[in-house]
């Protein structure tokens, strides 16, 4: 028994060594990055795997920041070929990439995603401005008496902020700080809402850190609840508690349109059309980044880009719109398709 065990262990070690050898050649595309882009990238990957002779790409949802970190790790089969991102790559990340030998990056914008504030259909929809949302959710808000000071958020109900709003306790379920949705919500709602106060806007130009301190601190007294990355869980909670609101990507509202309704932000309802033509204010572009050095090394990258940037995928009536992607205008699609075809380098 003992001897046999040793032999089995030895055999397994040999298998492991074989694995090292095999790791030198990878025949599938490895994609990491944003969980917001994940539902779209996976659909393209699946189609690509079924209709082409290449293997289906493996896709991991690591978050935008985590994906870029892995992506910029270096050139070689053990590093991913493509990373998805729900925000644009930062200059610091490009530098990190360059330092690790990833010098040529192709940037492809794939479309837009709206971030919605939604609640159960059992109650009336809310019509709220970004300034009011800032006042409802920021940890510290400008003193209502008018001085240039912040005080701890005193508002308990929506009604306290604006008498036109319902007399319900403020209760918003949202994503944790690791999420790209949270980043975008901060930028598009909290920052813009805060800027409605002239002195905060002036502060933003003068002292960026103090500005972020005010706009990026969410309430911790129970009015804003971090609900984790699982958006389906938020949807279920909203169903049970009609007074609560949730923050998530448009695709979840789209899929649950029988149970949930979107809040009107600055008077605009979050509909497919309003997000597409930019009327709905809380929307952001989605990207993916390709490591040019891997094109030719890993089979199928060019063909995958071709599939992703085809009209039948990301066009106005492409299959990605069925999954909730908001397509770019025609001119932008043409530009990024050309970038993908000729592998143009990213320029910030």
């Amino acid at each position: 028994m003992f001897k046999r065990g040793v032999i089995v262990a030895g055999a397994c070690l040999l298998v492991a060594m074989g694995g090292v050898g095999l790791a030198q050649a990878r025949d599938y595309i490895s994609i990491v990055g944003s969980s917001t882009v994940y539902p779209f990238a996976t659909v393209v990957a699946e189609k690509f795997g079924r209709i082409s002779s290449f293997k289906t790409p493996a896709i991991e949802a690591t978050g935008s920041g985590g994906g870029l970190k892995l992506f910029c790790g270096g050139v070689g089969v053990q590093y991913p070929d493509i990373t998805n991102s729900s925000r644009r790559i930062k200059a610091s990340e490009v530098k990190n990439c360059n330092d690790n030998g990833v010098k040529q990056i192709v940037e492809i914008k794939i479309g837009y995603d709206g971030i919605v504030l939604a609640n159960s259909k059992k109650t009336v929809p809310l019509n709220i401005s970004r300034k009011e949302l800032f006042l409802a959710l920021a940890k510290n808000i400008p003193d209502p008496k008018g001085s240039e000071m912040v005080i701890p958020n005193p508002y308990k109900t929506w009604h306290d902020i604006n008498p036109a709003l319902p007399d319900n306790a403020i209760e918003v379920l949202g994503p944790p700080p690791t999420s790209g949705t949270r980043d975008a919500f901060m930028e598009l709602v909290m920052e813009d809402g805060g800027k409605e106060f002239p002195w905060i806007k002036a502060l933003g130009k003068k002292d960026k850190n103090a500005f972020k301190q005010i706009c990026h601190s969410m309430r911790e007294d129970g009015a804003f609840i971090e609900a984790g990355e699982n958006d389906n869980l938020i949807v279920q909670k909203l169903e049970v508690n009609p007074k609560a609101f949730g923050i998530f990507g448009f695709s979840y509202l789209d899929q649950n349109s029988d149970k949930l309704q979107g809040t009107l932000v600055d008077g605009e309802e979050p509909t497919f059309e309003a997000i597409a033509d930019g009327k709905y204010p809380v929307s952001r572009p989605l990207f993916f980044y390709v490591k040019k050095a891997h094109v030719g090394m890993i089979p199928g990258i060019k063909e995958f880009l071709n599939e992703f940037t085809s009209e039948k995928a990301w066009g106005d009536e492409g299959y990605l719109t069925d999954k909730g992607l908001i397509p770019m205008p025609k001119a932008e699609r043409v530009k990024f398709r050309n970038d993908a075809g000729s592998l143009n380098n990213l320029s910030l």
Binding site: F2, G5, T42, G49, T56
Partner: protein
């Protein structure tokens, strides 16, 4: 004197009698608490199984639609099926079914009732039997997940049009199918035979199942011999000294370390240092081996300790060497307990997702893994990924996948019980 004696016994009996009711009550209370504890845990279990089964059982069926497909010669490239327009075949069949539908938007709505899987199905049919080209056949193709949800009663047919995933016109088309018997639910084979998909009606657990089997096979092949050798050495051969004590303490500590730590270790050692392929069952198996080793070693040592010393002494007494004593006498007696410990360790490894997250096995993988180095996921990971998908139809599939995982666990644990009852000897 006897009076005093009588007095004494009386007193003792009195004390006993006085306390008797209280003691009985205490016992009844204790039994009641025990019973309540069991009832509470059972009701939680029933609640868990109840929700999972009631949500999940419908995923074992899938709605299919009958289409009359003409395998048009002009649209199929016999030598290169990938170049053929199978989507066009489906659209043509739908057009024949509902000739009155015209206009781009309406046609899109109509074609949306059939799953995109129909195209792959036709493609597979032609590639297995090229003789089909040029014929017309009745084919059952999977319906779209929205239609599936409607047929299973998970989506409502009434209410405002904007509140529904399917509008009145689409409901009318489905109604026509229902009247003609061209829509039906049948066993969901795809769920057990295909890999992951972003279309709920095409998604299956076979890929995750194979990934789990590969990972666990490697874990078993590594952790069983290593764990048992380590425990035999520590229990039978190792000298008693400070160093061995230190090793022992460390093994016990490792058994309680959160599994995510092993994932981080795996990332640093196997992927970043040895450059083993990310997302592969090879790395998964190695990480889970690290995780289960302490459990197996502890269980194996306990079972070696339970072999009475008399067996060892008798073996040594008739002239067996220490090695013979262990291999011929102690190990066969301790093996059932070791196997039980191993299976419990494996069951724990089966349910892990946290360490797999770090090494990239929490990923969207469609192709069924065919070796230890192709990317793969595992069953609990598949459950997690589906639970996070926006499409409504994934809710029932999540529960169905949980059922499959539970079945797997029950099989493994009953194996442990059977092994124990069959081979274990009590002393």
């Amino acid at each position: 004197m006897s009076d005093i004696d009588m007095d004494k016994t009386n007193k003792t009996i009195d004390t006993v009698k006085r306390g008797l009711a209280r003691r009985y009550a205490a016992e009844r209370r204790f039994r009641l608490f025990g019973l309540i504890a069991i009832v509470i845990s059972l009701s939680f279990l029933v609640l868990l199984f109840g929700t999972v089964i009631s949500k999940g059982y419908s995923a074992f069926q899938q709605t299919f639609v009958q289409l009359e497909v003409t395998f048009d010669r002009a649209m199929i490239d016999r030598d290169n099926p990938a170049n053929s327009d199978f989507g066009g075949l489906v659209k043509a069949a739908m057009g024949r079914e509902f000739p009155e539908v015209s206009g781009r938007k309406d046609k899109r709505k109509l074609n949306g009732l059939v799953s995109t899987g129909a195209v792959y199905q036709l493609q597979d049919m032609v590639s297995t039997d090229p003789g089909l080209i040029g014929t017309t056949n009745l084919v059952w193709v999977p319906a779209d997940d929205d239609v599936d949800m409607l047929m299973k009663g998970h989506a409502k047919r009434t209410g405002a049009e904007s509140d529904r995933r399917l509008d009145d016109q689409q409901l009318a088309w489905i109604g026509k199918w229902e009247q003609e018997g061209k829509i039906r639910k049948q066993f969901n084979r795809a769920f057990f035979t295909s890999g992951d998909s972003r279309e709920p009606e095409l998604a299956g657990i076979w890929g995750a199942f194979v990934g789990t089997i590969l990972t666990l096979a490697l874990t078993l092949a590594l952790s069983f011999p290593i764990g048992i050798s380590a425990s035999i050495y520590l229990e039978e051969f190792a000298p008693r000294n400070r160093f061995v004590d230190l090793v022992e303490v460390n093994i016990n500590n490792l058994a309680a370390v959160p599994s995510i730590v092993f994932g981080l270790l795996g990332l640093a050692v196997f992927i970043n240092f040895f450059h083993l392929p990310r997302s592969s069952p090879l790395v998964g198996g190695l990480v889970l081996t690290l995780m289960t080793l302490p459990t197996i070693i502890i269980a194996s040592r306990a079972s070696l300790q339970s072999v009475p010393p008399s067996i060892r002494e008798a073996a040594l007494g008739i002239g067996a060497s220490k090695m013979q004593m262990v291999n011929h006498h102690v190990l066969p007696l301790a093996l059932p307990g070791m196997l039980t410990g191993t299976i419990i360790g494996m069951a724990r490894a089966l349910g892990e997702t946290a360490p797999l997250l770090m090494i990239g096995m929490v990923a969207f993988i469609v192709d069924i893994p065919d070796s230890f180095v192709t990317p793969a996921t595992a069953l609990p990971v598949q459950i997690f990924l589906w639970a996070d998908s926006p499409e409504r139809a994934f809710v029932e599939r999540t529960s169905a996948a949980i059922l499959v995982l539970l079945a797997f666990l029950v099989v493994m644990n009953s194996l442990a019980v059977i092994l124990r009852n069959r081979f274990e000897r009590r002393w």
